[in-house]
């Protein structure tokens, strides 16, 4: 899938309408997470979702494409998982004794720089969309514990009826050594 690089004027209005629709979907998702409606959030994920956050490494110039990020499907990443595992994470929080999220964190998911990177088959009949964005997530826990997560996300969405489901989420956190004690929130 190649990213769109054509100048914006070359795109028709269907493209921009779709961009708005997808942005609204992503904002709605952020609301669900910040409102701690985790089960409702799970409903936005396709059954076959791949949820992936690589570990970023310090590599020599010229080796970034090849070696900077750990790869989906091999070795160890921060997350490389399916809906079952994400469901377990939600279930764990809902036990009320998952102490890393008990009491619950306060989060604010800011999503910006939303751009459609690919639309299939075309903007008027979009069935699958690849969308890039930036995120800035502020997590505050208990009293003083505050963590900021900043990075890029690349999502693949599939149309299901009038709505969308996330089939793939790649999360690039702009850190090498994780500067947070836990990744106990969703991205």
């Amino acid at each position: 899938m190649t990213d769109t690089i054509e100048p914006p004027r070359a795109r028709g209005s269907a493209w921009w309408t779709l961009t708005q629709e997808i942005a609204d979907f992503l904002y709605r998702e952020a609301d669900l997470l910040d409102e701690r409606k985790f089960r409702d959030w799970l409903d936005l994920l396709a059954e076959d979702i791949v949820y992936f956050m690589p570990i970023r490494r310090n590599v020599k110039f010229g080796q970034h494409a090849e070696r900077e990020n750990t790869r989906q499907g091999e070795g160890i990443s921060w997350f490389d998982e399916d809906k079952w595992t994400l469901g377990k994470r939600v279930e764990q929080i809902l036990t009320g004794v998952h102490y890393a999220e008990e009491p619950l964190s306060r989060t604010a998911h800011l999503v910006s720089n939303i751009r459609l990177l690919d639309v299939r088959p075309d903007p008027d009949h979009a069935a699958e969309v690849e969308v890039g964005c930036r995120f800035l997530i502020r997590q505050n826990r208990v009293e003083y514990e505050t963590t900021t997560f900043v990075g890029r996300r690349r999502d693949r969405l599939r149309r299901v009826g009038d709505d969308w489901r996330i089939t793939r989420r790649e999360i690039l956190l702009e850190q090498n050594i994780l500067l947070a004690k836990n990744l106990s929130i969703f991205f």
């Binding site: 956050m53 570990i55 490494r57 310090n58 590599v59 020599k60 080796q63 750990t70 091999e74 070795g75 160890i76 990443s77 921060w78 997350f79 490389d80 998982e81 079952w84 595992t85 377990k88 994470r89 279930e91 764990q92 036990t95 004794v97 998952h98 102490y99 890393a100 999220e101 208990v142 514990e145 090498n176 050594i177 994780l178 500067l179 947070a180 004690k181 836990n182 990744l183 106990s184």
Partner: protein, 459 residues
């Protein structure tokens, strides 16, 4: 805190180490976990002497391969030189101290310092000095300005360990009888010696004292309730089949043992019943289940039933190399950053020759179990953070921690070498802090190894 004394740390109120670590009473001062003075003593007196875990040879298979690691608070380079010899160097240029390598891993023929371009070969020798003839000829003897190399290095079943102390005992003497337990982490699941590989690495920062983490692995089974959430929902390798708990129960009917060793190591292992049977695991993955069943039987044949009864759970090789033995399997090093901050590095292990499908199931389980994204260990981190934070204040520091669990309830060399408890115990921790105290007192190696005669005199 100001004007920290460099001598073995009396606390700010003048208490001695013997008062702070009172093994007769079973109490340990919170200062041990929060004092900047004691932290500096740890770096000076403990991390400069003890054997430390550096890395794994699977990370540097070829000549010129390097992996940047840490020892104590300092960056080091684990490197296989062009002739194939393994070295560990301080990652700091001899000229003005610039880090000579800021890539995490790779292959090189030279480490070229970014600052003034001195360059070092992979065996540490200073090779290139710009304008040498004009500026240094007759003064600078290159042979004397190699990268600083560890005094002792040991390769053991794929793992690499090092010490800065030329007088340190050989690594196997340092390990003592803890070697039997570490072997169960490093050996193939079918009992062949060694054969593991690192499939990935976690590095993260946690705002807690490093010893909370080490102590957790050295035998704190008592903290099990903190993992109630994962046990309730089930995240183990058979969880998709409805199994609860955070791992498969491979130890059914076995005798749990908590063993401490004179040099400070502590382990929690299991002696399975006299006729060890494969309990069934990885129920959701028939191929993986079959593989582990095969390994279990092959291991019994290879090691003999008596030896095959020993299964590892967790442990800590003094001071800061902790392991998980089976589910999951890896070594985690707790690098000290400050009294209230630790940099954790976990090396995830599998048998190098395990089938791809097995490795895939294992890595997925490791990720959901371990580290900052791991459903189990997130709860550990929460505890270590707030335990450190709530021990800072002057009132808190007047009141020591309680280490009285199962005082005296152990037998020496029965049924295994070491001080063995068959009930949950803080004996491993008491023993750990006895050795820790000896390092901070600057004790000779005989005492650090806990050789009985010396130890009796010291007590």
């Amino acid at each position: 805190m100001t004007s920290a004394p460099m001598s073995a740390g009396p606390a700010s109120d003048g208490r001695s180490l013997r008062e702070m670590i009172d093994l007769d009473r079973g109490t340990i001062s919170r200062d041990i976990f929060v004092s900047p003075d004691l932290f500096r003593d740890e770096l000076e007196k403990l991390f400069t002497r003890a054997w430390l875990f550096v890395g794994h040879e699977s990370q540097i298979p070829n000549p010129g391969d390097f992996f940047v690691s840490r020892m104590g608070s300092e960056s080091v380079i684990l490197c296989r030189d062009q002739a194939g010899t393994v070295h560990v160097f301080l990652n700091s240029c001899r000229h003005r101290g610039m880090k000579v390598c800021r890539y995490e891993q790779g292959n090189t023929s030279l480490f070229v310092c970014p600052y003034h371009s001195w360059s070092y070969t992979t065996d540490g020798r200073l090779q290139g000095v710009p304008l040498f003839r004009v500026l240094y000829d007759g003064t600078l003897n290159r042979d004397e300005w190699s990268l600083i190399e560890v005094a002792k290095l040991a390769r053991y079943k794929g793992t690499v360990w090092a010490s800065w102390d030329p007088d340190a005992p050989e690594f196997l003497s340092y390990l003592g009888d803890a070697v039997d337990h570490l072997d169960e982490v490093l050996d193939c699941r079918d009992g062949r010696p060694g054969g593991s590989e690192v499939i990935g690495l976690h590095k993260w920062i946690l705002p807690a004292n490093w010893k909370f983490a080490a102590e957790n692995f050295l035998g704190d089974t008592y903290h099990n309730p903190s993992h109630r959430s994962v046990d309730m929902i089930g995240i183990g390798p058979s969880a998709q089949r409805g199994a609860k708990g955070r791992r498969d129960n491979e130890y059914e009917g076995g005798q749990h043992v908590w063993v401490s060793f004179p040099a400070g190591h502590g382990v929690h292992s299991i002696l399975s019943r006299p006729d060890p049977q494969y309990g069934g695991s990885y129920q959701h993955y028939p191929e993986v289940d079959a593989y582990f069943r095969h390994c279990f039987e092959a291991r019994k044949r290879r090691l003999g039933i008596e030896r095959a009864r020993l299964l590892p759970f967790t442990g800590n090789i003094f001071p800061n190399a902790s392991y998980h033995g089976r589910q999951p399997r890896g070594i985690c090093v707790w690098h000290p950053h400050g009294p209230g901050e630790t940099e954790a590095w976990r090396f995830f292990l599998v048998d190098a020759d395990a089938p791809a499908a097995v490795k895939d199931v294992l890595r997925r389980f490791y990720m959901r179990y371990s580290g900052p994204a791991g459903m189990t260990e997130q709860d550990d981190m929460e505890n270590w953070l707030y335990a450190t934070a709530a021990s800072q204040g002057p009132i808190a520091r007047r009141h020591p921690f309680n280490y009285q669990q199962s005082m005296g309830a152990y037998r020496t060399n029965d049924p295994l070498p070491g001080d063995v408890s068959t009930q949950m115990t803080e004996q491993n921790a008491r023993n750990y802090y006895r050795v820790y105290r000896a390092y901070l007192e600057g004790a000779p190696w005989q005492a650090l190894l806990g050789r009985p005669s010396v130890d009796a005199a010291a007590e």
